[in-house]
Structure formats: C-alpha cells, structure tokens
Amino acid sequence: MADLVSHPDEVKVVSKRFGKGATNLDRYLELDGYKAVQKALAMGPDAIINEVKNSGLRGRGGAGFSTGMKWSFVPKQSPKPKYVLCNGDESEPGTCKDRLIFEHDPHAVIEGVVIAGLSVGSHVGYIYVRGEYRYLSEIMQKAIRDAYARGFLGKNIFGSGYDFDVYWHGGAGAYEVGEESALMESLEGKRGIPRIRPPFPAVVGLWGGPTIINNAETLANVPHIIMGGAEWYAGLGPPKNGGTRLFCLSGHLSRPGVYELPMGYNLKKMIYEVAGGIPNGRKLKAVVPGGASTPVLTADEVDVGMDFDSLAKAGSMLGSGGVVVLDDATCMVKFALRTIKFYQHESCGWCIPCREGTDWLKKTLARFHAGAGLKKDIDNIYYLAENMLGRTFCPLGDAAAMPTMAFVKKFRKEFEDHLEGKPCPYEPLGRTMELPVLAH
C-alpha cells in the first residue's frame, strides 16, 4: 500500500475518500456513498448525459475525449446488449492513479459504472483491472460482493426496478490492453490486439454490442459530478478542461506521490512547491509531463499549465497525468533506452512499424548507450521514430515514437557525448540510477 501525500493546494474530489476507510461499505455510505446512483436513477438517461457533457469532463486515460460526448454516441435502440467497461489496465510508466482509486475508493468506481450504464440503458458493467495489480483484486471483488449483498447491484437495484450486474476481470499483463479495443478483445478471451476502427465501441464494442469504455478515474469522477452538478465541476478547471486531476508526481522529487490538483495547475509550481523540489541539491533537467509516451519538456519549458490544451500548445500532452521529473544527473540516452525498452516489450506485434520499429530502436539505443554508437545512429534513431509516427495500427507506436523524437531533438548533445567510444558521461556522477519508471 502506497503512502498517501497531501498539499494545501489540492482540491480533493476523486481523492476525497482516500485514507478514510471507504473500502468498507458502511463507511462509504457515511461518506455520501451511493447517493449519486440513486439521484441518477431519478434523473433519467438524457439528463445524466447532459450533466456529464456540461461538466467538461474529459477522458483521464490519455486521449482527453469528452466523456459526455462519448456516451451520447451509444445508440438508444440496440438488438444486442449494451455494456459499460471500466478501463483499469493502468500501465503507462509514470502513472499510478487508478490503483489508488481501486485501493481506497472502489465503490466510487462501481457507482460510476452503474451511472454510465443508466445513461445508455445498459445492464452489465465490467471492471477490468491491470493484471499486475493483483493485490487490488480482492479489494475490488469484495466491494462488488458487498454491493450485491445490499441490493445496490444485481436485480432491481435500490428497488428501482432496474437491473445492473457488475463483474470484475483481471488482465494478464499487457500494456497494449489499455487500448480500448484491445481491452475488449482481452475481455472476450482473445489475444490483446486492437481492432480496426471504425466501427467504434460505442456502436460495435464488446461482443458486438454498443459499449461505453472509460478510464477508472473518469468513471470515479462521475458520481461527484452527479452530486455536485456540472457547473461546480466545470468551474474547478480552465474552460473545456473540467474538474481536477490526479497527478502522479514521480522521479527526482522530495515528496513524490499522487496529488489531486485543478486542471491547468502550473507544472513548475507542482515540481517545486507541491512535491518539494529536486532533492540532493540537484537541478532540474527534464520532465515527462503525462506518462512515458508524452514528449519530454526541458527545464526551460516547465512553466506551463497542466491541462490538455496548454500542454498541446507546448508540444507535449497531458496524457494520463504521470509526471516524471529528472534531475541533471540523469543520462537522457539511458532514459530514452529505458523508455523504448518498455514499448518494445509491450508492443503487441500486430503491425510492422511498431513491432519492428520498437525493436530496432531498442537495439540501436542499447548499443549506443553501451558506447558503440555511430554518428549516423542519431539520425537513424530519429528516422525510425519519425517513420513509425502516425503509421501504426494503434497509438502504441506513436507512444514509442513521440518521446524518442523529443529526446533526440531536445537532447542531441547528450547523444553526441556518447560517441567515439566515450563512456556514458553521466554514469560517473556517482549513482546507479534507479530509473524513475514505476510501471512494468
């Protein structure tokens, strides 16, 4: 169990119940639990979707698509059953927020799933939890059992006449399955490989039925929106970036941890005030702002608001909120290698550019960092990544290509410092690097 951290700037919405024993259903009810579902039952589908749309809630998995919009794409009439899928396959290096939600507030996820179900007329929900989060499975399963025991799930929930079932499903250890269509394949018992889109899940999803699929944090926000109202929630962040966000601050920081801050919170402030700055008298070198797949920012670029649109302007992405901070003793070539090792290992192998591209990037970077780099390798690495970008079957290839291109572009000098058989100039700085990658 991870230690919880806190800071006065935090605005606790999703993390409101963290550390308060909300895994216990009675305690959860004391903390206003399951009120949102009952309110939603009274509201009806259109009102729920409107409320979520107006709240400005955008997907917390990385792409940042409007949640209310997504729900509105589900056809009202469908010959096949509709499904709600909670994507808890949190695997992006640097990201560790969903696990805290499952650990501290599992019923909020269940509640979010049920409300999503009500909004589209679905009667079945699945909560898919990353395979490596084994220690969370008992918490999640117990929460579901408890909810069934009280009649909050199953037949005639809360005496409303509405039936809703929720199932827990564990992954088997694949980052790729965090991609929504691959997750559906996995849930159906197949290889975790993405599907061709269109059709999109809202129309043809799990077992061919219309499916809502949302990140766990997104769904955990929904009950709070229903209770607090769209206007209140939207007001927590800048325009079109409603609400707060769980930021996972890791790397070379004095007080790393998961903090809930309003969308648009300044990154520099986040590093130096919220997380206590860089320890050991080191200086900031670079920040990966939204999980390993987002392009790195240099120390000069960190004065930026942490929301979808500001970061896009800065040439990076908010992604899944995994902020990885690197100090000046970090070798960026080694960091690039560590990043690409992850994607090489996690590539599903379906399409040529990602399967072959990540492997050649890994091989080249490994040799490069070991001191056998050639001058042309630097351009080759960039060329490889550039030719993967936008051409792969799913975004995993982009996720490998984007940071690699940024590393080469922004830290080319560090690559050049490795040439001509020179040993890594950063190794002598006296640290066997514990690379700040949390996942994998």
Partner: protein
C-alpha cells in the same frame, strides 16, 4: 447497393457502396501494395503498406480498411506515401534473412517485388537479425520462421477459409510467431493453402522445397485428376530423363472454378507419375508370366486376338471396361471403338452416381443443373447425403465460404455428423439408407416421412420442406445415396422452387464425363438409348442395337466362359469390386494402366498408359462444368489411352478414319505447340480457333474427337474458344437423350477421403506419408514444446 463516386489520383472511380478503397483502386488499374490484405479474408491493417492520402484526413490511411464514401479524394502515390512504404519494407527486411538465392519463393516473392518497387534494399541496422530454427509441421508443410513477415494470411485462410483453425500466433511484439495450435505439428486437412497464400518463402511445401527455382519450370494450368470437383491446378514441370517431371502443383492461376482453393490431392498428389512401380513397357504373358515386349508386338497380338474372338464368337463375346479418369475424348473414343470396331454394347465403368436417372428426369426441362461457381453464390443450399469435406473438398470450400461471405443458408440432411454442420442453418438427421425417402417426401409424398425418424419428427420435416420451398434459387446437392426414382422425385421438387438447381455428386475426376460419353451397355453418349435411332447411328453406321452387358453381367458371362476377351482401360474391377481373379484367367485380357493393379496382374497384355497430366483433352466435373486438360509434357515409354485405342483399331485392320475424323494435312507433332508451354491459356489454339484454322492433322489428336463430341453430344456445344482459353463451360442436360432406368445396385461409392484417391492415391508418396503421419500422431502428452 447504390454506387459511390470517388477520385483516385485524379481519376474518377465509381464503385458500389461498401467497397474497400484498395479494391476500388484496383478496379481502375491502380495498384495499392499490401502484404496482409487478401480478398475475402478478414481485414488486418497490419502491414501498413497500403497507406494512402485521403483528403481531409490528417494521417495516412490504410486503403485496405477504408470503405469508400461519396466524394472521397485519394492520392495513392506521393513522396510522403512512397517514404511510408519504403520504411515499412526497410523494417520488414530488418529481420528478414536475405537468403533469396536459396529461398523457394525467390522470383515469386511479394517482398522481393516490394523491395524492387520501393528501393529499401540498403539496411540501416547493424545489429544481428533475430533468428529461429526452421520447423517441420507435417510431412508437407515446413516453416522457415525468420522469413515470416506476419501478414497472418495463413492463419486466416486456415481458419476462415478452411474452418480448420490449425494455425495461430504465439508470443507478442517482436517475438510474435506463427505457430500450430497443436504444440509442434499441424492437425489439419493438409490442404497447403497456407503455403500457397504465403507472400514470402516462410511456409514451404515438403514436396517442392529446394527442388528448383520458379523460372526453371514450365507452368501448365490444367485440371486436377483426383476428385470430381475439377479444380484448376498449375503444374510446375521440369525436364527430366524420362521427358518431364512434375515438381509442383499449386494454385498460381486463380481464374479456375476453385479460385484460391486447392486441396492436398491437387497440390501434392501428382507424384504417382514418377513412382518406381510405374509401368514403362508393354508386357505380354508368355509361359504364364508377364514379359516385356515391344509396342508393335503387343498391338499386333491384341489386334489378332480381338479379331479372332470377334469372328468366332461375335462382338458380344468381348467386354469393355472404361475409366472415370480418362478424358472425355478417350471415353467417347472407347465406346465408339467398342460399338463400331468390336461391334459390342458390352461396355461399362465403375459408376459412382446415377447420372442416367438425372438425365432422364431433366431431358426436355429447362436447364436445372448448377455449376461449381453457382454453389459459391447461391442464397441457399440443401445438401442431402455425402461428406463434401472429405469427398468434395472444393464443393465444401464453396459452400463454407458462401455461408461465411454471403450469409447463405445451408440445410443439411445426412445420416452421419459431418463437418459442414458448423456452417449449417439446420441439420436434419436421417436413418442411414433412408436418404431416398427424403427425396420422395420433398416431392410431396407425406407417407415417406414415417421412415424418417432421426432427430426430427414429422412436423419438423414438414417445416423443413416448407422452408425449402420458400427459398428462391436454392441449390440442391445430393450424394450417391439418392438413386433411380428418388432422383426424379428430387427433380420434381426442384421444378417447384423458383430458380432452384441441382448438383449430383460423383466421385472421380471424369465420372460425369464417363457417363456423358456413354460408357453404358444401354446408353450412347448423351444418354441416348442404343435401341433408338439417333444421330450416332446415322454417323457411325452399324451400331449394335441390343443392350450390352453390365460389368457384373460381363463377370458372370466370363465365369461361364461365354465372354472370351476383356478390354480394360484405366480401371481395376478386380481390386474395386473384389471379383474373383479366376474369372479373368479364362479370357484374353488387355489392360491399359499406369500400374500393375490386381486386374493388370491377370492380363495377357498390359499396356503402360499416360495419366491425365501427360495428355490433352477435356474433363467434365460432377456439376457438368467442361474444362480442358493440358499436357504438362511428353513422357517417353507410355502412351495416352487415346493413341492406344486407335492403334488397336488399326491393328484389327479397321480404317482409323472411320473412328477419328481427322482432317487431311501434313503430319506434325502438335504435342508441345498446342500451347502447353505458353503458360495459363492455350494461346496458339485460341488464335487458330478464332480464325477457323484449327488443324486436326493426326488420328491421335483428341481435338478431332472433341469436334465430334461437340457436334453430337447434346449440351456439349459450348463455345470452343472459351474452353481453349482455360474457362470452365457449363454443359446442360436439358437436351440429352431420355436415359434409361439403371439398377441402383450398380452404383458403388468410391468412399475416398481427403487423403486417398483410388489407384492414384495408393501410389502417391505425399498422400501416403500424410496418412501415415496422421496415424502416428503422438499423444499430446508426449510432445515436447519448442
């Protein structure tokens, strides 16, 4: 569906809504490259070669997964697109071994072609390639793992196309690898489709690998000699000591009725041709032993003996047995020889379906037979009896893929559980032997339902019949379980359904041809009774008008010493019908065959015959589709049956011009110039035919008899030019003679399965090795994983 207009590279393209962009481009001659896209298989979007620019889309799009929409503007070539494709080829080549000089696919490799097109031959990488050892998955399938580019075509054709699902993908990422789903070996139908569809040399054929290079072979598109479905197969032929050697059978020419399909027999079952036990010399029984002789000696002896019997005891003392695997021209010539030269109607063959009953029921009716192509497009199919997966692999493919791609409804009526049940809309079980009652019931005889218990009650049968009656354009396919009067019942049922058609299933490559060409004691070609005056009587002169003996009657006659001579062409009645060989020891027996079969072993003269791959002619498949058989090459030491029949007639002193109406002219060897060498279509013949110049210069030229067949046999007057161009031409039974009632007991199903094929199968190493391998498959617990 309404048409959609798009623009591709400035060209206007109109295609039906729902068309994939890659197909729309192809329709106007713009090729978009791809590895993983394959028509009629599920979409992958995996190889990323077909990236094109679609206006208003920020990223390049895969043409193979994009459905065209009105007004779409597409660019298929630009520096950006070229670079995208080039980088894909670079990435694939990164781990692909550059062993093209020894690879089977070298010269026929899609990756080679792409490399030439996009110029990515220079490697940017210096790390070693990933290597994995080669594997053997079955006697006929090898997998050279590093060559695989993971296009998943093999996985899909095996699963979706064949419904076998023997292949899958193991591991992930760069370790992904195609692997059998059963540990280290294939448990499958050994069709070899995975090899055929492989764009590179990853999957190779056990029969062909490392034998030759593609450009060293002559490629002859002909018709398969095994089952009655009539697949087009392309033989890869090389010169050898004996004249020619077939080294490969494949599906290079996809224009045939089989499209992409070929089964194990068509692909590997050609190797009987160079079996060590193949007869290579005529043999004459001397002092009780078969002794090698010369052709002249053999023909002279046969001519002398046949003439002697004919003079002493009349033609009716000679019995003729024809074949299911000789060409139409040979079967026609054989019965003409029997009737005109020997003066007998004692001619029969191994019957595997009741075509005379079908012809009798169809004569004078509209055209009611379906072609093999029709089966792929029919909205509904009723299959009574038979197990096509084993006995008619192409038919099974057509049905299966029709259901998969077009959503056809398949109604099965069978005594046994068969694999096609997986595609069926309804499965109705009948007691074994009661299939005929189904025909009667369908035709309206409700009392027949009482005999039809199984898993369905009377109401169920009535519901099935009502459902079938509502199916317009239904194709009714029936096995040899339906015979005699039941066939006419089924025809009666067919006539009552809008657009319904029939397929009657026989067992061998030219079973239908044997029947159509009149290998019957009471029927002339075209099911014309011998006793009725006909064009044949006029043309041939003296034709005996009394019905001859059936095969069992000939055997009985020989037993009592009345039948003095046998002429057996490409058949093995002793082996097939378990006839006491002693019966044959009392008469003068001539056998033409490839091997010393049980019947040949009893012969007084054995003549070594050419097989279907060594001669020219036509075959008619079980549906009635007429196709050409092309000579793959000249083989010394054997002769086609056609030539031997003519030589025997000449040896009997008969004027061969009365037998084969060949034209005057200079004798020349037509064997090779008839187009066999020129690839897929017989271009010389097409050109000559188009100008009315086609010569028939020798009595050994089957085309002369084909002329007569097309002139005299009803339904065979199809455009010759289409036939010679390699197209299948459906023949009709609607103008055929009235047929005659046959004894249903004379029909004996061959009961071959996927890996057996009568005499040919017994001498095929590939088929035998596969059968042996299936028998010896280890228990799963014994298999050590790789």
């Amino acid at each position: 569906m309404p048409d959609v207009n798009i623009t591709v590279d400035g060209k206007k393209v109109t295609a039906p809504a729902g068309t994939l962009l890659i197909e729309a481009c192809k329709s106007v001659g713009i090729e978009v490259p791809s590895f993983c896209y394959y028509p009629n298989l599920s979409l992958q979007g995996a190889c990323r070669m077909c990236l094109v620019k679609v206006e208003k889309m920020p990223k390049l799009q895969t043409a193979c997964t994009t459905v065209i929409s009105e007004g779409m503007a597409v660019t298929t070539d630009s520096p950006e697109i070229h670079q995208a494709r080039k980088s894909m080829v670079e990435l694939v080549l990164g781990n692909h071994p550059l062993d093209c000089p020894v690879c089977d696919a070298g010269g026929e490799c899609e990756l080679q072609d792409m490399t030439f097109s996009y110029g990515a031959a220079e490697s940017k990488y210096i790390e070693p390639k990933n290597h994995r050892e080669e594997q053997q998955w079955s006697p006929v399938v090898y997998f050279d793992r590093p060559r695989c580019i993971l296009c998943y075509r093999c996985v899909r054709v095996c699963g979706e196309g064949m419904d076998v699902w023997a292949l899958g993908v193991q591991n992930r990422g760069v370790s992904s690898i195609i692997a059998p789903n059963k540990e280290d070996h294939l448990e499958c139908e050994e069709c070899g489709m995975c090899i055929d569809i492989c764009p590179v040399g990853a999957l190779t054929s056990g029969a062909y690998r490392y034998k030759t290079r593609p450009w060293e072979m002559k490629h002859v598109g002909t018709t398969c000699t095994h089952c009655a479905d009539g697949c087009k197969t392309t033989l890869g032929v090389r010169r050898s000591d004996s004249g020619m050697e077939i080294v490969r059978g494949d599906n290079r020419d996809k224009s045939g009725i089989n499209g992409d399909f070929l089964c194990i027999k068509g692909r590997y079952g050609f190797d009987f041709a160079d079996h060590a036990e193949r007869l290579k010399q005529p043999m004459i029984r001397k002092d009780g032993r078969l002794t090698p002789s010369t052709w002249e000696e053999a023909f002279e002896l046969i001519g002398r003996e046949f003439s002697r019997v004919q003079q002493q005891d009349g033609g009716q003392a000679i019995g003729v047995v024809g074949s299911n695997r000789t060409t139409n021209e040979e079967s026609y010539l054989l019965q003409k020889f029997a009737r005109v030269v020997l003066g007998t109607n004692n001619i029969d063959h191994h019957r595997t379906a009741d075509f005379p009953a079908l012809a009798a029921a169809l004569t004078g009716k509209p055209d009611l037979t379906a072609s093999m192509r029709d089966v792929f497009n029919a909205p509904a199919i009723l299959l009574i009896g038979n197990d096509p997966t084993n006995q008619h692999p192409l038919l099974a493919w057509q049905i299966r893929n029709n259901v998969r791609l077009h959503g056809a409804r398949l109604y099965l009526v069978n005594a046994e559980p068969i694999k096609l049940e997986r595609q069926a809309t309804s499965v109705t079980q009948v007691p074994s032997g009661a299939e005929g009652r189904v025909a009667a019931f369908l035709a309206g005889d409700d009392s027949a339902a009482d005999a039809l218990t199984g898993n369905t009650n009377r109401e169920g049968w009535i519901a099935l019949r009502d459902k079938l009656r509502s199916e317009a354009n239904l194709i009714i396919i029936f096995g040899s379980e339906i015979r005699g009067g039941d066939v006419s019942s089924l025809v009666k049922f067919t006539l009552n359904i809008q657009g319904a058609k029939l397929v009657c299933l026989a067992d061998y490559a030219n079973s239908r041809g044997a029947a159509d060409m009149g290998l019957y004691p009471d029927l002339l070609p075209g099911y014309q009774p011998v006793a009725q005056a006909s064009k044949f009587h006029e043309e041939w002169g003296a034709v005996p008008q009394t019905r001859g003996l059936t095969l069992p009657e000939m055997v009985e006659s020989a037993r009592t010493g009345k039948l003095k001579a046998w002429y057996v062409v490409g058949a093995n009645p002793i082996g097939r019908f378990a006839i006491d060989p002693y019966v044959f020891s009392k008469s003068f027996v001539v056998v033409q065959d490839m091997f010393l079969t049980e019947t040949a072993a009893m012969a007084d003269v054995v003549l070594p015959a050419a097989n279907a791959y060594e001669k020219s002619g036509t075959f008619t498949n079980t549906c009635g589709d007429l196709q050409v058989v092309k000579k793959a090459g000249e083989v010394s030491e054997v002769k086609p049956d056609f030539e031997m029949i003519v030589r025997i007639a000449a040896a009997m002193g008969f004027d061969v011009r009365q037998l084969v109406p060949f034209g005057p002219g200079t004798r020349m060897d037509m064997g090779q110039s008839r187009g066999a060498q020129s690839g897929e279509a017989d271009r010389h013949a097409v050109w000559l035919e188009a100008r009315g110049l086609e010569p028939k210069m020798s009595p050994f030229d089957p085309t002369a008899i084909l002329d007569e067949i097309q002139r005299l046999v009803p339904g065979y007057d199809v455009p010759r030019i289409n036939l010679l161009a390699g197209n299948d031409q459906h023949t009709s039974l609607s103008q055929s003679g009235p047929g005659a009632a046959q004894n249903p007991k004379l029909i004996v199903a061959a009961k071959d399965d996927l890996f057996s094929s009568g005499t040919l199968g017994r001498y095929s190493r590939a088929l035998n090795s596969v059968m042996e391998n299936h028998r010896n498959q280890p228990a799963e617990s014994d298999v050590v994983a790789d």
